[in-house]
């Protein structure tokens, strides 16, 4: 579904953040990218969704080359991105945030909204509340719900568990599993390597802009190197 071939991303002229990364996400999979802070995980997602540009290579989504597309055109092709730090529109209400998620959707927005509200009853309770006043967990649900409003085929999540209490982390991962069961392909970026490997069909390990290891989630979580570096022994 998503093929990334030889991605090289620079910040300015000297910082080489992503160094020749290639990987793929097959339809129906959950793929995790794990790695430490600054490994280039978020940069990869931003490049896929068109906010940043790769100097080389190609990004193919659903059979189409999308590496030259502007960000606002990529969403309507079925690729949604939940950015790091949630980034809900804090001055808009919960409902308006969801409507923005459906900006490119042709067809019945109300129906999709109903579907999202039934999946996230908490958002229904707070639909008229200003998003900036929600708790961290609620904001993350809103960010995921908002991305789901565009009815994506592939959902990219950037650090959905960041800054959340353990019980909320469980909830968010349950939501990701549910969305996956409902047929959405998922590309997950996480620092919480244990949870990310547990949920993933396959995973890639990034270190300073390069993929250093890959494999299925279970194998990786049993590997000694991974245990030592990411799972605390």
């Amino acid at each position: 579904m998503l093929y990334i071939n030889d991605m090289n991303v620079y910040y300015g002229s000297s910082i080489h953040a992503v160094k020749g990364v290639s990987f793929e996400v097959k339809p129906g999979e959950i793929v995790s990218l794990i790695g430490a802070n600054g490994a280039g995980k978020s940069t990869i997602l931003k490049t896929v969704s068109g906010l940043l540009r790769s100097r080389t290579g190609s990004i193919t989504f659903d059979g189409k080359e999308i590496s030259g597309y502007e960000a606002h055109k990529i969403v309507s092709m079925g690729l949604a991105h939940v950015p790091e730090g949630r980034r809900v529109f804090s001055n808009l209400t919960v409902e308006e945030n969801l409507e923005m998620g459906a900006y490119t959707l042709k067809g019945n927005v109300e129906e999709v909204k109903k579907d999202i509200f039934s999946r996230f009853p908490r958002l229904l309770e707070r639909r008229h509340q200003i998003a900036g006043t929600l708790s961290g967990g609620e904001q993350q649900m809103l960010a995921i719900g908002r991305a789901m409003m565009s009815r994506p085929k592939l959902l990219m999540l950037d650090e959905p568990s960041m800054g959340l209490a353990p019980i909320l982390v469980e909830q968010i991962f349950d939501i990701i599993k549910e969305l996956h069961q409902a047929g959405v392909t998922i590309l997950l970026v996480e620092q919480n390597a244990r949870k990310a490997l547990e949920i993933a069909d396959r995973a890639y390990v990034l270190e300073t802009g390069k993929i250093v290891m890959s494999g299925d989630g279970k194998t990786l979580s049993e590997s000694d190197d991974i245990k030592k570096a990411y799972l605390g022994g």
Partner: protein, 298 residues
């Protein structure tokens, strides 16, 4: 008592013009953090557009028709000019430092003023009053239709703008882009289109303002926009730049302050008092009355 009410009506008339202009300043600042110093000069162009129609068509058509054409033409010119300036001068600088953008805005302002001076000459042109229907009485008071219509038109424009920004899809997208351009793009919102629309709307309001200004002062001159623009800028800052109700509130407050100073015989101080207000706001409440303090997270 009648003098007080009379002065109050003057204040409302002046204030609503400032408010219309301040809205454009505030909306543009809200969406690309630019103090568009060319905004006042758009009003000047609108005034010349009205003057041109009023003086060139009046011998062929009845007054009412000429006035109607002048209003539409002037608003249209302002809208196109505002959106055009954004495309030509500001859009190429989207990723440039904010200071470059600000300097460009000042450059555009000088360009428009000198262009007008070259075409129309440095002297003022007198613009026939478009709302030339005299006055009416409320009790013992005489109220000119110009004042009444200015206030009514401004209030309607602001109400329409508020509904647009709050309720429509494009309006919500505008708010989304002003809060977070990157995330708005991830929603599929085209930021360039949204920014153009913001300039167009702000400039259309300036166009309405230019017509109302001509009705009040009956003249157009190349530099008329600079002082008007600066005062509207003060109004926007006073209300809280980036805030729509703030711009309206600030506009009326500045109109009131200026009228008050003039009415007690200190009219030579009326410009000074406006800028004194700016200084006081910047010292004691830099975010303005309705503005939110922006906490920049690192």
């Amino acid at each position: 008592m009648t003098t007080v009410i009379g002065q109050l009506i003057n204040a409302l008339q002046l204030g609503s013009i400032y408010a219309l202009v301040a809205l454009g300043y505030s909306m543009v600042y809200g969406i690309i953090s630019l103090l568009n110093f060319a905004h006042g000069d758009i009003i000047m162009v609108g005034a010349y557009a009205a003057w041109f129609i009023m003086t060139s068509l009046n011998s062929f058509l009845p007054f009412g028709a000429v006035a109607a054409i002048a209003v539409v033409f002037s608003i249209l010119i302002c809208t196109l000019l505002g959106a055009g300036i954004e495309k030509v001068a500001y859009a190429p600088l989207r990723s440039a430092p904010r200071l470059s953008l600000l300097i460009t805005a000042i450059g555009v302002s000088y360009f428009l003023e000198n262009m007008a001076q070259m075409i129309f000459g440095a002297g003022a042109k007198s613009v026939p009053n478009i709302i030339s229907i005299g006055s009416f009485h409320v009790g013992k008071m005489t109220v000119s239709w110009t004042s009444a219509i200015t206030l009514i038109v401004s209030v309607i424009s602001m109400a329409v703008l508020t509904v647009f920004v709050k309720k429509t899809k494009m309006g919500k997208a505008m708010r989304a882009v002003s809060e977070d351009v990157g995330t708005a793009q991830l929603m599929g919102i085209n930021p360039n289109k949204t920014i153009s629309l913001t300039f167009a709307i702000g400039s259309a309001l300036a166009g309405i303002g230019s017509i109302l200004y001509c009705c009040a002062y009956a003249q157009a001159s190349p530099t008329m926009g600079s002082m008007l623009g600066l005062k509207a800028f003060v109004a926007a800052v006073l209300g809280g730049i980036g805030s729509i109700p703030g711009a309206v509130l600030g506009g009326f407050a500045i109109g009131l302050a200026e009228t008050l100073v003039s009415s007690v015989g200190l009219s030579v101080w009326k410009d000074a008092i406006v800028f004194a207000i700016l200084i006081i706001v910047l010292i004691f409440k830099p975010a303005g009355i309705l503005g939110k303090k922006k906490i920049e997270k690192v």
